[in-house]
Symmetry: C2
Subunit: 205 residues, 2 copies
């Protein structure tokens, strides 16, 4: 009993799945998400439409293939660094990690983001994913703030604020072609959350 089960079956499945993803991304690049039909993808990937839906929940999942694993990783991250002095410290750390990753291959991410923005259904899916993350953050906050309605409320609202600024920051970054320092933008956003927002409206400050 060495590794789990790289049985022939699993191998073929993984291969077919990967090929489908490749084909799909190629077609999406060439003619756009909505303009590409599932049957085109399937025929080019040599699988039947029925099988496609056994590999992927829906068409949108082709764009977010590892939604689950990324969420799980984030969950782990929050759990690992969840006992910092300041609850926002872990978010700063996360910001650093993610901005590094995003900056590293920003060209791919920018292309992907352009695709997402081109289709309502993809934007919707992205919002759904953001919601997952918000729930995770809220849970992490709630873990330290403890029980009680006030604390629970605080955790939910704070998590909402966090994901709110994260979304906005990323959009701004994208809107400027990913040329700004994402980490700096992110840390600034967290600063605002910690220290309060209106400060910058005071010209004297």
């Amino acid at each position: 009993m060495d590794a789990q089960e790289p049985s022939l079956r699993e191998q073929k499945k993984a291969l077919a799945r990967a090929k489908t993803l490749d084909v799909a991304h190629k077609l999406f690049r060439e003619k756009g998400f909505e303009q590409t039909t599932l049957e085109e993808i399937c025929s080019e990937a040599s699988i039947s439409k029925r099988t496609f839906f056994r590999y992927f929940r829906d068409k949108e999942s082709l764009i977010f293939p590892n939604r689950e694993s990324r969420l799980e990783a984030f969950r782990m991250f929050l759990q690992a660094y969840g006992d910092a002095e300041n609850p926002f410290e872990v978010l700063r750390l996360a910001t650093e990690v993610f901005s590094r990753e995003y900056n590293h291959n920003f060209d791919k991410i920018l292309a992907q983001q352009t695709l997402i923005q081109s289709s309502p259904s993809l934007r919707a899916r992205e919002a759904e994913i953001d919601r997952d993350w918000e729930i995770e953050i809220a849970a992490a906050f709630a873990r330290r703030s403890g029980p009680g309605r006030q604390n629970e409320l605080w955790a939910a609202v704070a998590a909402g604020a966090v994901m709110g600024v994260v979304r906005a920051t990323m959009r701004q970054w994208f809107a400027h072609g990913c040329r700004e320092d994402l980490n700096a933008l992110g840390q600034m956003a967290i600063d605002s959350l910690e220290r309060g927002f209106p400060e910058r409206f005071v010209p004297g400050a």
Copy 2:
């Protein structure tokens, strides 16, 4: 030349539209959003499916029939009170207005919200609408913060934070059966944005 044009044509259209909305809401209440088919709605409202799509963009629009007008009203509101001392003052005012309205017929709103949460496509549409509002808030903020990348950035991020806490607060309110004081919750959320978030994590406070 008195009023505009309550021409016979317009009257009939408005009537048919209203009837369709009524029928749809009734059916949604009875069997749920996804379980209700457009053809059922159409046949019971005595219009053809083709005509339905001349009255409404899509099925989801039946749940948010006055999306445009509400957004427009909010836009006007921001413009009217946009020159307060503190930029968050107008948000406090808006919170008061909306919480009053929501509290007034919370039963209807709760039912509607339950419906929305029952269907992914409705949640998606709601998120889209929230995004509209966020854009409006960002524009209002940008109007006072003035030009320049830093200010622009600030406006977008602040607006993201605002809608983030608004969404979270409303969800919490719904989750507790709309029994809490929505205005109080809202004002608290804005407080947090203004004064900064981590304060409540300090047990000594």
